[in-house]
Symmetry: C2
Subunit: 350 residues, 2 copies
């Protein structure tokens, strides 16, 4: 790996694989950033595609895999039967030190299960988390985690998520000191679940180096109130999907409005460049690439229905993470938290 | 109350009270639907406003209240010090049988606490819930509850929420048999928290008359997959606020795009009527009016920042609920659930 960055790609994962995968690799290849790719999957299909994308071909090595894991396969089944699949081999390339990070648009549950099984969690991490980005009103992206790796999280896990999410945000945005908050039903200290209040106390007591801002509410994700929003995987998954659903609904209503008559259509035609810019801003493709945090290896998940440019965005996340000091930062902060004294119990009478 | 519907109004609650409250009453009054209003609050200010809104004045009685509860007052403080306030008196009018329902845009926590204290929960209801509506792609509104009355809910409570939410949707939409589902991180049976899986089983075992569709995900709220989405108050609050935040963000980006240059502005001007229709559809004012379900009395919460037409929408919810058989329906279904045999425990060995 001395010759620069190598990324391991699951060529067969996703709704439109392998076509959009190779298209995404090609987009990145044309930037000439020196990244090389190991593309796992059906050698015949991938080879034929590469012939159509010479830039991708020039920086890729096709690694034949005998099978692919379907989008509907259960995680437990993928663990039993997945060996030799493009997804399995793509993850194994990171484990074996052949690549710096892996990217797949395939079956999320299978991907998480195989990545956890092969790469294991980092020391000091109880459970990995899936971190996604969401556009906000100030022009950047809020990192939100966990968006679905676990359905529950206790106070300690939320603290780990905070540390991992902050390092992720720094690596992808270049922001020196991202601010962090816990997602809650109100900003007041006494609000919410016990786990969340415990996590807030734990972060404050640990003395870990975080710009911690306490609690934020659901609408703060789009406002960009803080850079990193931390929550359990149940709440985070539902928040993210509710946001995605709403953005899709508004987009649909906008299209309906602007095709509702000749005047509306004319207006839309004239305003087309501006509307196109709006669309790009809210297009999940532009902020595609969720990171599976807390493993001994960089694991990036692309949306299953990503386009070629969306897939390129996910590769971009893998590239930025691989060039960052993300894992060293996490490791040192986690060590600090685990060394912190247990918080004193507050007692009524003394 | 023999002479028709009477609604009790907190004249002083909300960011723009009492002005928008009287404006909202006036909008409803001009429909001549025979509703009369008891408007509680500062008699001098309300009287002066009524002089400007003669339609409101003709159907309203001003009930002087010596004070108002501020938006920042804590619920516990409101319970101790709130007696004699416009909010307190507005709720008491329902308790005393002087009005069929109460509407306030005031402090949510104080409103819930006072309403629970004065009206008490219905027999068979463990905890009340706050139900809101959200526009969906099929043209109607999804009812979602609980959006913040409780931070947790066990299986039994979720079943009660399902029953109450279904009756609410029928009363406001006129839909004969609204479909119901539980909010989860996946549609598969084995997904999510134990409480949710228990609730799904409980609904199926109880034999209660509901069109129950199992689990839905966050994006189904905007898709309109089912008519009623049931969840705990923590998740529901965060989902609703995340959706609101996203809608606001897209609206802001759209405005920015359409004012970004002369061509964009021209296009927007030509498409203005279509854009205005879109705005009305996503304007929280048009679906304003959350219902605090499960109390011995109808309690409607308006957004604190509602406009006059938004407030009129909340009054419309109170009117529809008061003319419905909602409480009788809930009472009979709850009785059925509580009579249902406890679900048998599944045992491995026999």
């Amino acid at each position: 790996m001395a010759e620069g960055l190598v990324l391991s790609i699951d060529g067969m994962g996703g709704d439109h694989a392998p076509d959009i995968v190779v298209e995404g690799v090609d987009i990145v290849a044309r930037r000439r950033s020196g990244v090389r790719f190991l593309v796992h999957g059906d050698a015949a299909r991938l080879g034929a595609l590469m012939d159509r994308y010479p830039d991708a071909k020039a920086v890729s090595e096709i690694v034949p895999a005998e099978k692919a894991i379907g989008m509907e396969m259960k995680a437990s089944q993928a663990l039993r039967q997945g060996k030799g699949s493009s997804l399995w081999n793509a993850v194994a390339a990171v484990e074996n030190g052949q690549a710096h990070a892996v990217v797949s648009a395939g079956n999320t549950g299978a991907y998480m299960a195989i990545a956890m099984f092969r790469l294991r969690t980092m020391e000091g991490v109880h459970r990995p988390a899936l971190a996604a980005r969401w556009p906000h009103a100030k022009g950047g992206y809020t990192v939100i985690l966990d968006v679905g790796a676990n359905v529950e999280a206790d106070g300690e896990q939320l603290v780990e998520f905070a540390i991992m999410g902050e390092a992720f945000q720094r690596a992808v945005s270049g922001k020196e000191r991202p601010s962090v908050a816990l997602l809650n039903v109100g900003a007041e200290e006494q609000k919410g679940h016990e786990e969340i209040r415990a996590a807030a106390q734990l972060i404050r007591d640990s003395g870990v180096d975080l710009d911690f801002r306490g609690f934020v509410e659901g609408d703060d994700i789009s406002k960009g109130t803080v850079d990193v929003v931390v929550t359990d995987g149940f709440t985070g998954n539902i928040a993210l999907k509710t946001g995605e659903g709403t953005a899709r609904l508004v987009g649909q209503l906008l299209r309906e409005s602007l095709t509702s008559g000749p005047l509306a259509q004319l207006g839309a035609l004239i305003a087309y460049p501006a509307l196109k810019k709006l669309r790009a801003r809210m297009d999940p493709g532009t902020f595609n690439g969720a990171l599976f945090l807390g493993l001994n290896g960089l694991v990036v998940k692309s949306h299953g229905s990503a386009s070629g440019s969306g897939y390129a965005a996910a590769i971009g996340v893998a590239e930025k993470m691989a060039r960052s000091h993300y894992r060293e930062e996490i490791a040192s902060k986690l060590a600090r938290v685990s060394r912190a004294p247990a918080p004193a119990k507050v007692e009524d009478a003394n």
